[in-house]
């Protein structure tokens, strides 16, 4: 039995709080827009949080806020049949090649 999931960090030592402001990158704005669009089609914030909470602890710590949201949106799209893993894989390779070309 897991008593405390990794994401449930209230009361744990948290280290230093980063207080500086920062601007959002374009890809982060797109992730936010995609979240809103999927909400309109029934994907709740609760469903997306469930996917984030299921990340392995090392991945949860390593990934940035919006990187975690990308995983949750992809999981939701996969579970709801909007995309298959194979389609996602092909697209990821395509984008990667475009970036390195």
């Amino acid at each position: 039995m897991i008593e405390r999931s990794h994401h449930d960090m209230g009361g744990q030592p948290g280290g230093k709080v980063e207080r500086s402001e920062h601007d959002y990158a374009d890809w982060e704005r797109r992730v936010d827009a995609m979240s809103w669009l999927m909400r309109k089609h029934g994907v709740t914030v609760d469903e997306r949080r469930r996917h984030i909470e299921q990340l392995p602890p090392e991945a949860y710590d390593r990934m940035s806020y919006y990187e975690r949201w990308i995983v949750s949106l992809a999981q939701a799209a996969l579970q709801r049949g909007l995309v298959t893993s194979a389609e996602l894989a092909r697209k990821m390779v395509e984008v990667q090649e475009r970036g390195s070309g």
Binding site: I2, R4, D8, G10, G11, D46, E47, R49, R50, E53
Partner: protein
């Protein structure tokens, strides 16, 4: 909608349970006793919404007030300091 069972001032204990799933009741507050501060309203149950179900009937959500020193054994602040947590009714029992 599920009927509200508690009113402001009632003493309540948070269930000490660790189910799988998406749960909004923070780990650190489970098993602690506090006082109902207010009824916030009734909302679809996020534990059910997270599993792609309706979350209905709506569950009463309360703001529950806890004494900091009772929650954190090493708390150094004033004994009057409190902590308020929003908790759904199905996690609470009369204390």
């Amino acid at each position: 909608m599920v009927q509200a069972r508690f009113k402001p001032g009632d003493r309540v204990r948070v269930m000490q349970a660790y189910p799988v799933g998406h749960v909004r009741t923070p780990h650190y507050i489970r098993g602690h006793t506090g006082e109902i501060e207010r009824l916030c309203g009734s909302f679809a149950n996020p534990e059910e919404l997270a599993q792609m179900r309706s979350g209905l009937p709506a569950q009463p959500l309360y703001r529950v007030r806890f004494v900091q020193r009772e929650v954190w054994p090493d708390y150094k602040g004033s004994p009057q300091d409190v902590l308020e947590v929003e908790i759904f009714q199905h996690w609470l029992e009369a204390a």
